[in-house]
Symmetry: none
Subunit: 193 residues, 4 copies
């Protein structure tokens, strides 16, 4: 029944994902998962020992899905500026629907965990910086962008996005405010000459 087991495990992870989006990480109890999945208490423990273990699996799945989506959604031969714009648009969407993202749960989870675990976050961040850097570089080469420090600019963009994310989850943020920040960083890439 390894096949069936794997299916059930995946089902639990996907259901739990919704719960984490809704309630963040800290407030979620094993009971919440049990209720959402409509399985037995003991049944859940067969697969996951606690919410942390479960959340880690959610993150893993999330990562895989994100990679897939990213690759598929980029049109072949798109211009770097378009790709960057598309990326920022995605981020904006996530920012504004705070209940539809795992952001809060991610923050809560990593607040509690050992720094070592943070490497996953770090890797994601660094990977994103790298991709953006390459986009800016390519864009600079074909004249779309003007930028003397592509890596610095990429990092700046990512930190601003992090700042926006946390702002969205704590004090709330308007669409206009998000647009303003995105516009600001984009202008930094084109307006300088």
């Amino acid at each position: 029944m390894s096949e069936k087991s794997a299916q059930k495990k995946k089902y639990i992870i996907e259901t739990a994902r919704k719960v984490f989006m809704e309630k963040g990480f800290k407030h979620v109890t094993m009971k919440d998962i049990v209720d959402a999945c409509q399985i037995s208490r003991g049944g859940l423990y067969l697969y996951f020992q606690n919410t942390s273990e479960l959340f880690e699996e959610v993150l893993k799945l999330e990562q895989e899905d994100a990679d897939d989506v990213f690759e598929q959604s980029i049109p072949k031969g798109a211009a770097p500026s378009d790709i960057l714009a598309l990326f920022l648009k995605e981020q904006k969407k996530e920012l504004l629907n705070r209940k539809q993202s795992l952001n809060k749960a991610v923050y809560e989870y990593f607040f509690d965990s050992e720094p070592s675990k943070g490497n996953i976050l770090k890797k994601q961040f660094d990977a994103a910086v790298y991709v953006i850097e390459k986009l800016i570089q390519t864009g600079a080469e074909n004249g779309e962008f003007y930028c003397e420090d592509p890596r610095g600019a990429a990092r700046n963009i990512m930190y601003v996005l992090e700042g926006l994310k946390i702002a969205s989850q704590t004090r709330g943020i308007s669409e206009a405010a998000v647009d303003r920040e995105i516009l600001y960083v984009m202008q930094g890439l084109v307006a300088e000459e």
Copy 2:
């Protein structure tokens, strides 16, 4: 003995502050406070009904102290660029000693609270943006800075700082990384001509 009462209340707030710095907000129980303060269970309830109420008072005190410190630490007649540098240095110090700041607790607290409460955060953010904007403006007038959009630049700086804060609390961040980001935003203010 309202005098003594006020003293004790302040003592509790200050002790609680340390606990919140150490453990964030969510994990702190009334018992933690009771133990840290070496007072009785009921005694604590005499002053605060729950950890939220207590944390709000900690924030209030924090705000007052911050105002005092800020005013005192700015040398009269200092140049805008120096003041900004000083501000960023302070922020850097806070970022790197993540156990010495309330950042994590603040985030955890506002994750759970109603958006309305977030206004406090928003006010602080806006106030900081305003101050930085004025610094940049003044700096631009006397030739220290070059900047076409002081408000945009000020907001960018603040969002980067937020991004750095959350990075510090989740994945950890090196001093070099902080310096790099600060340098980047500062260069944006001077290097353009």
Copy 3:
């Protein structure tokens, strides 16, 4: 300060009386009394060790007042049937305003106390039976009433009143229902011949 003390004690008892009327006996805490009287916690303990002690004093005062009222409100030379009607009317008023009487508090108090204490209740009950019996007797002599067993009739009336009281406090009772029962017992005294 014995004079002042006595005054304060009486003030506490009278204020407590209102609290007991409002909340019954069990739910009343020493804090409730303290709040209602606007005195200090320690101050209350100077006079009463607990709510039972206080309630006993309330009852004592109640009894004295009742005696006074009773004597004063009976017109000299009134007919027995009128006095009885007056008495029943008073009882009815008390029954229908359940928040304006100590009934519930009395029951709650005596539910908890030792049977020995119940003697107070017993004395009150017996005294009332005695008075009613005499009224009936006198009424029988002058032809207002017809009754072969005045004591039995008196006791019957008192038990019905007790039943009505408890009904009023638990399931609620309408004015019509009270009237009906009063009429029934009164008819038993006149209709038979």
Copy 4:
């Protein structure tokens, strides 16, 4: 194991019943029940959220049992006067063993609950009045009783019983006193002509 669950639930209710008979309603805590049932704290909460919920179930069971007993204990073809006497004898037994009845608990419970809940009590009372009325009517038809107002008499009997119950729980009452009251109301049904 819904079967086993139901058994345990019933076991808790029956054990709780004894506790309520012993201590009334107000003084009973969830811990008392836990101790009496020899189960765990959490285990009890699996079935009942609080003492009120539990007490309501006790009452429900009580009602069912009472109906059964009543039907079974009435001999077929018994005379109305005998049935009434039997009923009063049962009531007397309950009155005299105040620790063996739920009366006190019932009163305490309904003192606190919303009037709407009191309807249960009202229904029971009205039902009993109805039964007694019918008995008296039938008895009057076959000459056992003489009564012009069977409903009034029935109500009078029930209120006296209520009065006796409360007397039993508060000041205590002797067997002789109960007999005296029962005799009085029975005489009212036969002696008048």
